[in-house]
Amino acid sequence: MATVKTYDPELLRAERRKRENIRRLKGLGLHALLITILGVMLYPVIWMVLSALRPETEIFGDMGFIPTNWTLENFVRGWQLYGDLTFTQFYVNSFIICALAIIGNLLACSMAAYAFARLEFRGKWWLFAIMLGTMMLPIHVQLIPQYIFFLNIGWVNTILPLVVPKFLAHDAFFIFLMVQFMRSLPNELEQAAIVDGASYWQRYWRIILPLSMPALATTAVFTFINTYNDFFSQLIYLTDTDRMTVPVALRLFLDPSGGSSSFGGLFAMVLVSIGPVLGFFLASQRLLTKGIATQGFK
């Protein structure tokens, strides 16, 4: 005779409650751990923010985490670097370079990528390999010849060495990134355009480019971040103080050679300078995530 197994509903409910409690406890533990890690990671940033808001003399003197005296003086003094030079000028300089670099990279890299991804021509794979090979050249190898070249054509102390190469598909990484993306687009779309009599330019401009928006956004964001943070090229090519950019100007608060440093101004201006990068990233976060996810960079 078969036995029928019976379940006590009370016992079942208790078991469920127990499982639920364990799950909640695990979730709580995990969140506590993540919050702790986040705190550790954010501590230097929070310290910097609070240091920018305390009087300069208290930055290294006051051991407390929360300032005893609050001030915006560091922002005022930091913005006015010295003489007539203010960060307004440096931001304008930085933004002009960033805007042009983004436009240049988006146009030139996407065109080069289209050629590599969708067109067939003799020597394509050799050229692609050479293009990838340029990514392996360290900047130090190119520095002096590039400088002398730009000097000889009269471009030093102008923004041209920083932006013109971008219009010539100079960043191999972004070409590679877009090639990968464009290869994943269905051929049928382009074939349909060919049937309609579309030229190469029309296929690139009307079909491929609009579909490559995530890759373009990724390129734009990384170009902005790289250009905005670029210190060395801007240091050597923009020598006149009126043409200085934000990262170069930020270094002028410190004097490791023995003079006085201005940490208050530095922290305040670093805080302000984070704003554009953060804003640009947040504004394009959705496209950026999509771009990275669809290009196999997971």
């Binding site: 290294f60 042009l100 002398i148 000097l151 410190l254």
Partner: protein, 448 residues
């Protein structure tokens, strides 16, 4: 379709913006010239932080106010990038007309194709060097004997100490350290003062890895550091140096090696002495004001004093002095040379300019101006100490002739060698062997 038109419009505006910005970028930034005896535009480069930049800018404005047809294009950078940029500019013969230079780095650039030899301009009176002491002026010569810069500030390293800690020890019966003192007397004093310091504070920063202290040690023992592009000091003197600091370290008089490295930051705000974690350290006295300002916030009432390095067993003084000055770039146009020369004269000789600069990058090289600054009631007391100690040591100091790359090479190799000794990886003998071999290799490479 509307979206496409919109994109087209955006693309059009972006293109127009680009063209506009590119055209703006290539426009020359020259100044309008007016009638004047002296006219033209020169580029002037210097290094420094916000305070020095502000002072320099005020001096430039003063000069431009006196010479309305002259324009000085400012090129400044932080210490390390300054030299990187100058090196790259020099490779393209695009160095500024007036270049701030330092004797420790001079040998790297002291070539007629990079810097203009200035002897002729001095002889014909275009450059005014009156009042600059001969040893200071001679320290601005290259290996070829040519004068390559006009010194405007003389700097030196010395020892900074906490005066209240010294007083507490003196009250407890430790005999104060009176200059001149030998290295042995110095070590005895530091050992004696240790029990009277606040808990956790070291008597002295471990200077085993500090090239300024090492140079003083070598010279105070009657040896030279360099002979041209060769190492001139003996292995024995290096071994003794490592043993000296190892004895102090193992006795707990200095901080442990890991702290020695982490606290060895060049930034004043992070230093032991400014944060009451140490009694004594080596620092250039032009930092005294900044150290005192930081100490005022950490420990109000504490004052920092300065004293020279110890002397050798026979009383020989080994302190090195260096000079900062202005050189003229070899690429400077003939028409710009009078402007550059007048600018150098103004910077080195003008009392008002010296008053603005306040010996910010070394004590002003003309003794009369230095005395005037020290006697000025508006001068900061720390700056007065800085100038007075300079006046005390200038006659006995022994300037080192640094070969090309020598300063950085000695700093790097001494750091590596002593770190290995302090961490127990090498014996003092092995450390000395490594120091001499590495240093010689780097000097030979730089001389090629």
């Amino acid at each position: 379709m509307q979206e496409f038109r919109l994109k087209k419009r955006v693309a059009g505006s972006l293109l127009a913006t680009s063209i506009l910005a590119l055209s703006m970028a290539v426009l020359p930034n020259g100044a309008a010239a007016q009638d004047s005896d002296l006219q033209g535009e020169i580029r002037f480069s210097w290094w420094g932080g916000q305070v020095r930049n502000d002072k320099t800018d005020r001096i430039i404005q003063l000069f431009e106010g006196q010479h309305p047809n002259v324009s000085i294009v400012r090129e400044n950078a932080d210490w390390a990038p300054y030299w990187e940029r100058l090196t790259i500019q020099s490779t393209g013969n695009n160095q500024p007309c007036a270049i701030t230079m330092q004797t420790r780095w001079l040998a790297t650039y002291a070539r007629p194709d990079i810097l203009m030899p200035l002897d002729e301009l001095v002889e014909n009176g275009t450059l005014d060097v009156s009042g600059i002491p001969e040893p200071v002026l001679n320290s601005a010569r290259g290996a070829d004997g040519n004068l390559y810069m006009i010194p405007h500030g003389v700097f030196y390293f010395a020892l900074m100490y906490n005066e209240q800690m010294a007083q507490t020890a003196a009250d407890a019966g430790v005999a104060p350290l009176e200059y001149p003192y030998t290295w042995d007397e110095f070590a005895e004093y530091l050992t004696a003062i240790l029990p009277h310091l606040p808990e956790g504070a070291a008597s002295v920063h471990n200077m085993g890895r500090e090239q300024d202290a090492f140079v003083t040690w070598v010279q105070s023992h009657g040896e030279d550091v360099f002979d041209g592009s060769n190492v001139a000091f003996s292995k024995d003197i290096a071994v003794q140096w490592f043993e000296y600091w190892e004895a102090l370290r193992t006795a707990g008089v200095t901080e442990p090696p890991e702290v020695m490295i982490s606290d060895n930051s060049a930034l004043i705000e992070e230093s032991n002495i400014a944060n009451n974690r140490g009694f004594m350290t080596n620092r250039p006295p032009n930092q005294l004001g900044s150290v005192q300002t930081t100490v005022d916030t950490v420990s109000p009432g504490t004052t920092i004093g300065i004293t020279p390095y110890p002397v050798g067993p026979d009383g020989t003084v080994g302190m090195d002095i260096g000079a900062n000055g202005i050189a003229i770039g070899a690429s400077c146009d003939e028409a710009q040379i009078p402007v550059a020369a007048e600018w150098i004269n103004f910077w080195t000789q003008n009392e008002e300019a010296a008053g603005i600069y306040e010996s910010d990058n070394g004590v002003v090289s003309i003794p009369a101006l230095a005395t005037a600054q020290a006697e000025d009631p508006d001068t900061q007391p720390t700056q007065v100490q800085h100038i007075e100690l300079y006046q005390q040591i200038i006659d006995t100091a022994n300037p080192v002739f640094w070969p090309a790359g020598g300063y950085q090479a000695l700093t790097d190799t001494l750091n590596r060698a002593y770190d290995a000794v302090a961490f127990g990886q090498l014996t003092p003998e092995q450390g000395a062997d490594q120091l001499i071999a590495d240093l010689q290799q780097q000097l030979s490479q730089a001389a090629r």
